[in-house]
């Protein structure tokens, strides 16, 4: 049978248009109704990162006032008070700025001088068994004491701090209702104006004091730390866009999922839990395992490579302000983290504590000394996994394409969120508080 070529052409064109229309409709339909793209294992991993898995901030047994409202208020005031510094201008909030998620956007912290390290966020740190990048402190209260006497940070000293408390009627009243009477330090022969067990003149003055008087001052100093620690325990991250996505995932709400994260962010999440190996260390609802890893980060110019955890654990074990020390309120001294910590293993050399990734976009520069300025450069670092300057780099090159690296950064930016802490705690306390 022979058909005119014009009819054949029309039928062919009709078929072509019809098939195109059906394909387009299917594509649009599929676009709106993207089938759940995750395997059961992937869903388990994604849900493990959900902020709803975060329990209430634990009380610290070594700090008997860690859940005491009066202590939280005292700590709040101390945190923002610049009196507790050498020049009367540096407070904890100078570097740990509430508007910057308690970091300072600087490469290294800047107080009386330049700090040796980048300012870490303290949001969520109540959950961490170790503080500082090398974990040389095992509680918030013990950590809070170090910057006060660091000559480059507050540059203050425990004797000066005890005097400030004594001379301020409000501080004295609150302190005494929490911890009992302040010691009488009016005798300048026994209690010099300034003294602390650090090198230099302050150390000489400290060593001239009797052991009993030193202990009296240490107790005041420690109680200041415990109040600051009680306040810091209140700083908790809030639910981010990623967490809203996990909520939608749990409800199998595909429409909300597609609104909450775009395709690039979802691809980035897939890399985060698979090829990128990020979840190995950045796990759990705070995106950190709080452990120590050598990832081959090059030290800053003029800085020696940081020995990391191998030094940190030695310092923590020797620290008189640790969980097992006489100033700890944990009567049973059940300090499992300290007791069962590893020491002297080669893999601890150059190992740095994993930071949380919540609000990571807003808390650069990155790494323990602020060596890397942007998230893109951080991902590039992990992609290359260079040889470590000290110890052994645990990570392996990831061979991510430029597009994959971009997607991973896009995902990390979905972890931004205001804190879930009441805003009153994020501002300096008012006079009548």
């Amino acid at each position: 049978m022979h058909y005119p070529s014009r009819i054949v052409k029309k039928i062919a064109l009709g078929l072509f248009l019809g098939i195109s229309l059906i394909s387009l409709s299917l594509w649009v339909y599929a676009g709106n109704k993207t089938p759940n793209p995750w395997t059961a294992d992937e869903i388990r991993l994604i849900e493990s990162l959900h902020i709803e898995n975060l329990p209430k901030a634990p009380a610290n047994p070594s700090n008997s006032v860690s859940k005491n409202l009066l202590a939280e208020k005292l700590g709040h005031r101390l945190f923002f008070d610049p009196q507790f510094s050498k020049n009367g201008q540096i407070s904890c909030a100078t570097c740990h700025q509430p508007n910057n998620f308690f970091t300072d956007k600087q490469t290294k912290g800047s107080g009386i001088g330049s700090s040796s390290h980048n300012t870490r966020s303290i949001v969520g740190s109540a959950y961490s068994p170790w503080l500082y990048s090398d974990g040389r402190k095992d509680s918030l209260w013990s950590q809070a004491l170090s910057p006060l006497e660091d000559p480059n940070e507050h540059g203050s000293n425990r004797m000066q701090i005890a005097r400030l408390l004594n001379n301020d009627e409000n501080y004295r009243r609150v302190y005494q209702s929490l911890f009992g009477p302040l010691p009488d330090i009016s005798d300048l022969q026994r209690f010099p104006k300034n003294a602390a067990p650090i090198p230099g003149e302050l150390g000489l003055a400290w060593r001239a004091m009797s052991v009993q008087d030193q202990k009296l001052i240490n107790e005041v100093f420690v109680n200041i730390g415990k109040a600051i620690g009680a306040y810091e325990r209140l700083l908790i991250p809030g639910p981010s866009r990623f967490d809203a996505y996990v909520n939608a995932l749990k409800k199998n709400d595909l429409k909300s999922q597609s609104i909450l994260l775009n395709d690039s962010e979802i691809r980035g999440l897939r890399i985060f839990i698979n090829k990128g190996n990020c979840i190995n260390c950045h796990n759990g609802p705070l995106f950190t395992n709080d452990e120590f890893h050598n990832t081959g980060v090059i030290s800053s110019p003029r800085d020696l490579p940081d020995k990391g955890r191998i030094d940190g654990i030695r310092k923590a074990k020797k620290d008189i302000f640790n969980c097992m020390g006489i100033y700890s309120d944990d009567q049973r001294k059940e300090c499992d983290e300290l007791e069962y910590a590893r020491i002297d293993q080669p893999e601890l050399l150059g190992a740095i504590r994993t930071p949380s990734l919540r609000n990571i976009e807003s808390t650069g520069p990155y790494m323990h000394s602020g060596q890397i300025k942007t998230l893109t450069a951080v991902i590039e670092h992990y992609n290359q996994a260079p040889l470590s300057m000290i110890g052994h780099n645990e990570s392996e090159p990831l061979r991510m394409s430029r597009f994959e690296r971009r997607d991973l950064v896009a995902f990390l930016k979905t972890l931004e969120a205001p804190l879930s802490t009441n805003f009153l705690w994020l501002e300096p306390p008012s006079e009548n508080q």
Partner: protein
């Protein structure tokens, strides 16, 4: 495929399934290279990462007799990542009937772990490996 081969394959699959089930319940059999039959019960069941906890390890001879008076040492790590346990666990008590309490155990990553259990009785030392998937 011969009938006997099919039966063998099925037995292997059933064994693997049971082994997997056992691990997920926080108990495990040791590798066959070890002279003892060991199992453990975790204080955390299922085991969660980033949480310090303790185990009770049970040691029996292959004939099923509980092993008393042993010293147990727990080490191990993740072969894929070339690192050890994040803590230094220690035996803190012998509980009788071949049971030993080990405290200070924490895992900081999901994935495949190998727990090396060194069992020392007088001069004799044996290492039993417990595979663990978290």
């Amino acid at each position: 495929m011969e009938f006997s081969k099919i039966v063998k394959l099925q037995i292997t699959i059933i064994f693997l399934f049971i082994a997997e089930l056992t691990y997920s319940q926080g108990q495990s059999l040791a590798s066959s290279s070890c002279d003892y039959a060991i199992s453990f019960i975790s204080e955390l069941d299922p085991i969660e990462i980033n949480r310090m906890h303790s185990w009770v390890i049970n040691v029996k001879t292959k004939a099923g007799i509980p092993v008393e008076g042993a010293t147990i040492r727990l080490e191990g790590g993740m072969p894929e990542h070339d690192h050890g346990l994040p803590t230094n666990p220690r035996m803190t008590a012998e509980l009788g009937s071949g049971n030993y309490r080990i405290e200070g155990i924490r895992f900081h990553m999901g994935g495949t772990w190998e727990i090396k259990t060194t069992i020392t009785i007088k001069e004799n030392r044996d290492i039993c490996t417990i595979p663990l998937e978290l």
